[in-house]
Symmetry: C2
């Protein structure tokens, strides 16, 4: 099925610059971009054209790291650093997701908020509760946006209410992985790919025993399921991991030794305090780094050396890390990534600050690449898009280029400027 979208198209094929196509036509076929044209090609003369006039058409935002249950805690508890913050704020809240009604109520608000903010794909940590995780996946499927979702695994050093029995954690994960496999096989019969998929989600090394990590690594390998976790976020955390695993060369090595780094299919959030040896592993294993600058500010975690990672050619995307971050709005996280890089630059003058195109790329194609051909309008990419009506932001004729209009939206716009959202060319409804 052909659908054509008309408007002012802007996106980042590469990090270095924006691609701008004023008043152009994006032709899509079965949800995938065929091409961008100044005039509508004759062969598509009969196809439906959705004309957005002077609005901007930009790729949807992709959130590479977020904790759905923590949505309720946004803005709370930032006087603490990571470990006491988990104990004092996060664990008590997450334990409430034992209750299915509670889970349904707040996961619905989380999903609605995510859609409203213009996130079209996300990699999501649920809680350790199987049923609540299923509910979250159902709600995401209903919403129309894409996601990887994982039940959190945590069988040590957790609160009484959250700590799992090792075997139960393994069994429940396996059940969810098998369920996901069946869903994918069923969809494949119709030539489809589900938008919501499972991802194995050990909370972080201090929360998972060697036995559990080993088992999860085996499940991931056997069923070819991606993995997400946290790495080198906070100095106290790094020291703790060293104490827990003196047999491993580093924090990264713990994951690697237990089979939890699947090449090209693993996300590690934060990556602030990595050694060069760790970076070598992350690069070799093609790990996606979820940069979470707002969370890193809020929890005093430090500033990630982003420029170094970009120079190394690492995969980097941006995560809201709610509720380490205090908003799901990826626009804000683009600004925070620029700010963090400028902070870093003020101390390390040789490390260039992030440009707007680089930051935009990270939150669209950078994060999106984890989902496949997502986050760009190049041929063959899924048409995940936001329509931006920025009329209220424009005054006089001072904004000449689409880039300036996009920058104005990113720095000064609100979610109300987003008038339409699409995933694979299908409209996503905002409640």
């Amino acid at each position: 099925m052909i659908k054509i979208f008309k408007g002012n198209v802007i996106f980042t094929k590469t990090m270095q610059s924006f691609e701008e196509h004023k008043n152009s036509y994006i032709v899509t076929k079965n949800g995938v971009v065929e091409g961008i044209f100044e005039k509508c090609p004759e062969e598509y003369a009969d196809a439906e054209i959705i004309d957005f006039g002077d609005s901007l058409i930009i790729p949807g935002f992709n959130d590479l790291h977020v904790h759905a249950p923590q949505w309720l805690n946004m803005g709370i508890g930032y006087s603490e650093e990571l470990l006491p913050w988990l104990e004092k704020y996060t664990f008590p809240l997450e334990s409430s997701f034992e209750d299915e009604d509670f889970a349904r109520k707040y996961y619905r608000l989380f999903v609605d908020d995510m859609v409203k903010c213009g996130t079209t794909r996300a990699c999501i940590f649920a809680t350790r509760h199987l049923r609540a995780t299923e509910i979250l996946m159902e709600l995401l499927e209903e919403s129309g946006i894409g996601a990887f979702v994982g039940k959190v695994n945590m069988d040590r050093n957790s609160s009484d209410a959250l700590q799992e029995d090792t075997q139960t954690s393994i069994d429940e994960t396996l059940a969810l992985v098998k369920q996901d496999k069946e869903k994918r096989e069923k969809a494949a019969l119709n030539g489809e790919l589900p938008l919501v998929n499972y991802i194995i989600t050990p909370r972080f090394v201090p929360s998972t025993t060697a036995e559990l990590m080993t088992a999860l690594g085996k499940i991931a390998a056997e069923y070819d399921v991606p993995i997400q976790s946290h790495l080198d976020e906070n100095l106290d955390e790094v020291a703790w991991v060293k104490e827990l695993h003196p047999e491993c060369r580093s924090f990264t090595a713990v994951y690697d030794d237990f089979g939890l780094i699947l090449p090209g299919k693993t996300i590690m959030a934060h990556c602030i305090h990595n050694t060069d040896e760790e970076l070598k592993t992350l690069k070799e294993k093609d790990v996606f780094i979820a940069h979470c600058p707002q969370s890193n500010f809020n929890l005093s975690s430090g500033v990630m050396p982003l420029r170094k990672y970009l120079d190394m050619g690492m995969h980097v995307g941006i995560g809201s890390d709610v509720s380490g971050g205090h908003t799901l709005n990826m626009k804000e996280h683009i600004v925070e990534a620029i700010h963090a890089s400028k902070c870093y630059h003020s101390v390390h003058r040789e490390s260039a600050p992030l440009s707007t195109s680089e930051a935009f790329y990270l939150a669209t194609k950078g994060s999106g690449s984890f989902f496949g051909k997502v986050g760009s309008f190049e041929e063959g990419y899924d048409f995940d898009a936001l329509i931006i009506d920025d009329t209220n932001l424009l005054h006089e004729k001072q904004l000449d280029t689409l880039q300036e209009r996009l920058e104005k939206f990113i720095f000064t716009g609100t979610v109300d400027n987003i008038t339409n959202r699409y995933v694979k060319a299908k409209k996503v409804t905002c409640k």
Copy 2:
């Protein structure tokens, strides 16, 4: 005239902690706070009570440094640092304010936006144009918020369109200062103090000749008018000042030598790269430092060593510095101040991050002190207040204290949570 405001009162008398008064009555007389009571005192039984139910009552925000004409440029040009940014973006825009109609149109939008954001007092740079500056002062008077406003002085190193003749700059400033004096004398006959006043505003050292600075210093001293300018914002700027004034010991010394630091009546914005000798002068002369963290991030200016200044007992307030900053919303600048301090902490571990109460204090009483008894609800303070309806931010019973509710508003609320604004107990209307 007695007016009583009822609600959940929270403010910062000191930086160290919030004062919370649940369901309490703030009694005001002629716009000034008489006291806060759990029950309405009998002597006020006949007075008007404005009951805000479960809403929060907080002090209005005070913006210690902002450029009104640059409102149009918010979000634009942050790939540049200060000096090229001025040339490329700021000077061309400011030259448009020669046109009175343009000035009226955009100063109106600026003032409306400031009111909407909950700013109740501000120290404002206009442009070098006398008539546009008067228009801005008129619009501020109509709005009901308080402000110091200055026509910018700039007679060297400016764009052709903006550069002034030295004598014209002096004459126009003197005219505005005299006008302001007359206004104050006239108001004093009715026992009143005008809310909008003049402040002498040399742009910064590179823009003002020795002759102009000397003349402005004399006017300030003779008419007892406050002064605002920029100091030690950017390393290239600091080097330039050193080149321009080899006869002075430092950037601060230039202002001081030319009589532009009036004890207790001077604001210097930024103060990032000061030497200890400069800080000694700023402390001795009781200078107010306008901390502009968002602008400093955007323009890669560096991170101000705020904790050091607080430890020294300096006067510090927060400025939006639009359009170095990209929003007038002081709530966002409170968050940025916390983030900047956490960044600084990640490099200088001995420098403690800013707590929420400290950051809130800076944007209320810290900035407010420049205006008199402003920014707190202690006895004798002007009742400048915002009413916050945070119903949409509250879920379950997870927020026990007014502090947590205020933090939630600051990090996750929007201007739509502000339902009412007061200056000196008089309602300010939001358009």
